[in-house]
Amino acid sequence: MLLFVARRLLYLIPVLIAVSLLTFFIASLLPGDLAYTILGDQATPENVAALRKDMGLDQPVWVRYFGWLGNILQGDFGRSFRTGQTVLQAVAERLPVSFELMILAEVIGLVIGVPLAIVCAARSGSAFDRFMTGSAFAMLSVPAFLSAILLIYLFAVELRWLPATGYVPFAEDPAANLRFMVLPALTLALAEWPGIMRVLRSDMIATLQEDYIALAKAKGLTPARILFVHALKPSSLTLVTITGINIGRLIGGAVIVEQIFALPGIGRLLVGAIYTRDLIILQGVVLLVAAGFVIMNFIVDLLYAVLDPRIRHGHA
């Protein structure tokens, strides 16, 4: 197992280097000169030249890349030229919001998706199954920005049950925090459950054909026990896989949802940095998010190994 972890960790290094390269070069390809952005509309060519020199912008791009990478390896991700905040400060302030949002969304997605998948698998081909599969497909096609606005109009403007925008930290007032988080998390979950449900459903239908299920039935176990224990357990790998893949989608979705619901998360930080050309924040955040995603996938890989000994021993 240790060897397995070590090998996986080694794989992370080239992936993270590739991520840092992409992040840096894409950001440096953005049109517009950072010096002009900082100095504003009325910058004189002399001031711009001086600032470019100060910031090292007159250096070749690869020199700047290694300078940036060197600082990062020493834990210095840079400082926003607009707010004076360091990237790490900004991310630390905002991460809990996005983290909570994504966990809630995933939990709601699982709470809706898993039971529906089990019921549909148990009665595959029934009217209910066909209806749910159809609705899942429909829900999958609804973009988050649309469902967000529809939810706001229904629950905030018409019914006035929940707030349309805003945020309170969990530590300050947990109940209020959850009230603010319900709609954003639900918006994300609405796009999550169909995937969970459809994959798990087909997985379980296949499992239900297995001999050991027939044996369980023959032994006279209750249908509920067969479904939830015997049939669901082998599908746990599938669930882990979907959850892992969903993290990437959730990060993307969070960017939009945080913008609409005005949640002060990583997504807002990122969009704000793009609008204001805050390249230092932009590069730093993209790198951290990408690294976070890669590490989450690494954890998913480890979970596979825990759940399925065949993978751990390299036989899969």
């Binding site: 953005l30 049109p31 517009g32 000169d33 002009y36 952005t37 900082i38 100095l39 504003g40 509309d41 009325q42 910058a43 004189t44 060519p45 001031n47 711009v48 001086a50 600032l51 926003s80 030229f81 607009r82 707010t83 004076g84 905040q85 900004a90 302030e93 905002r94 967000a148 606005i149 706001i152 109009y153 905030a156 403007v157 006035r160 707030p163 349309a164 925008t165 805003g166 945020y167 930290p169 913008q259 609409i260 619901f261 005005a262 949640l263 002060p264 998360g265 807002r268 930080l269 969009v271 704000g272 609008y275 204001t276 050309r277």
Partner: protein, 513 residues
């Protein structure tokens, strides 16, 4: 800014200290103290240290108007009123202005406000070593001197007839900040601003909420009315409006591109639409040194081919107000004849025919949905007149360098809402200025610009500025599409919102009914 100071006689009037007192002693019958409001801003505020942020956008302006004070303010008629300054007098040539400051004012941290504190603010922005983006906007001021505890002298490079009005706007330059605070807090000062204003920053969660609490020791007794103002950035226009409808926000920023919601608010008796048409305009400059714009007929043809009403309909549901000169409704410059060319497609076609050669050119357009829409509408107008415009999409930050280096044929630009047209008109049209984008030189125009900036008589200045507008319109070196219009939507219960000068929504004097 309607009539800052109308005549030279008026300009020299030593505004009595009593006015400030009189203002604060307005009948308090209507105003109610107490309560709290939530303001839905467009953008996250990056901070308040001029050295860090350079300029305040409208979101920061709303906060700045509450946390800081400026030397002066503008009343509803656009007349300059005392704030931190009690009175002011110009020298004969309008190159020196002496301000007498209000005694007994303290910053929120207890530091006394005086001429020295003001000078420290100014010098910090002006110091070339600090490389402040804000320095550009005070380039016309040579120095500020504190001649005694409460006397401040502005030494200007060029005459400025309306300086007291120009320093009223709560910009990064004009907002007076506590020198002790920025020295003590260093890098953290940006997000922990200290002013003398009616509200004190209580807490600020990045990207979320800024809580401002009433300043109990505010120099203007009886003010402010609200106990608390919460500022929240709500970046999405739809959910921002939904927050107003559902009552989570009491007032929100808006603009004419959100026409649907503005119209909805107009019909809703529980909501109120506040709007202000400022000075300045959305403008475009031709590079008159390159073909085909080296020929006046082509320039005139393109301007005549515009149909601003139709354009307004297409991009803002008719909310955008057409502009025929660079001054706008909010300016005190009103022209009987601004020399605007007629919108006449047939004449435009004839001019292009007369020119004889094909009219093909590129126009810089900001790569945003709005920029593209505007570009496409213009493209259609000009196609009908027989000219082919190619849209060149560029990043917002690319436009200034391209404009300065004159690497364009036609570029969008903006004349912002300031209390006096001089600064921008002189920069945009005086031969040889770096922002005289049209590359156009005309001795008569130069003479009028020189004259207008050094004349105290408002009537004469208006004549000069109208003559300037006539030359520019006739020569069609720049053209104007729409006026700078600002919107705020609020609950009908919110009262006392002043005019949105320069687009700043100042809620620091409002109250709840």
């Amino acid at each position: 800014m309607k009539a800052a100071i109308r005549s030279s006689a008026l300009a020299r009037i030593f505004l009595a200290a009593g006015i400030g007192v009189a203002l604060s002693a307005m009948p308090a019958s209507a105003q109610k103290s107490g309560g709290s409001i939530t303001f839905g801003l467009e953008l996250d505020i990056p901070g308040f240290d001029p050295l860090k942020v350079g300029v305040f956008d409208t979101s920061a302006g709303t906060a700045a108007a509450a946390i800081f004070d400026t030397l002066t303010s503008l009343d509803e008629k656009g007349v300059v009123q005392p704030k931190l300054a009690l009175s002011w007098t110009p020298s004969d040539d309008f190159k020196t202005w002496t301000f007498k400051l209000r005694p007994g004012v303290k910053f929120h941290d207890g530091t006394p406000f005086n001429a020295k504190a003001f000078k420290e603010n100014f010098d910090r922005q002006k110091d070339p070593a600090n490389k402040c983006r804000c320095a550009f906007y005070i380039a016309f001021v040579n120095s500020v001197e504190a001649t005694d505890e409460l006397t401040l002298v502005y030494n200007l490079k060029d005459p400025s007839v309306n300086l007291p009005a120009l320093v009223s706007f709560p910009s990064a330059n004009n907002s007076v900040q506590s020198p002790t605070a920025w020295k003590a807090k260093g890098d953290d000062y940006n997000r922990n601003p200290v002013g003398t204003g009616p509200y004190i920053l209580k807490s600020w969660a990045a990207g979320d909420r800024m809580v401002l609490e009433k300043n109990p020791d505010y120099w203007n007794k009886g003010r402010p009315y609200l106990d608390r103002i919460v500022l929240k950035p709500l970046p999405d226009a739809q959910s921002r409006f939904a927050s107003l409808q559902s009552g989570e926000a009491d007032i929100i920023w808006d603009d004419e591109f959100d026409a649907d919601n503005i119209m909805k608010a107009q019909k809703d008796p529980k909501l109120k639409v506040h709007t202000y048409v400022g000075s300045g305009a959305q403008v475009y400059a031709f590079n008159t040194k390159v073909a085909p714009f080296d020929d006046v007929r082509v320039r005139q043809a393109l301007v005549m081919a515009l149909d601003r009403k139709k354009m307004s309909q297409a991009i803002t549901n008719g909310l955008a107000i057409p502009a025929s000169n660079p001054y706008g409704e909010g300016s005190w410059v009103k022209c009987k004849d601004d020399g605007a060319l007629p919108e006449d497609l047939e004449k435009a076609k004839a001019l292009i025919k007369d020119y004889g050669k094909p009219v093909d050119f590129k126009m810089l357009v900001t790569a945003t949905p709005r920029g593209r829409t505007v570009g496409q509408v213009l493209q259609q107008f000009w196609k009908r007149a027989g000219a082919n415009m190619e849209i060149e999409q560029v990043d917002q930050a690319t436009i200034p360098p391209r404009a300065f280096m004159r690497q364009f044929q036609l570029t969008p630009w903006r004349i912002v809402d300031l209390a006096d047209p001089d600064i921008q008109m002189f920069a945009n049209f005086r031969s040889g200025s770096p922002v005289a984008l049209a590359n156009y030189s005309n001795p008569e125009l130069d003479k009028l610009l020189e004259q207008a900036r050094a004349t105290a008589d408002t009537g004469k200045r208006i004549e000069d500025y109208c003559a300037i507008s006539r030359i520019i319109n006739k020569e069609a070196i720049w053209f104007w599409t729409f006026q700078n219009t600002y919107y705020a939507l609020s609950s009908a219960k919110l009262k006392g919102l002043p005019k949105m000068y320069s687009g700043v929504i100042d809620v620091s004097g409002t109250w709840l009914e």
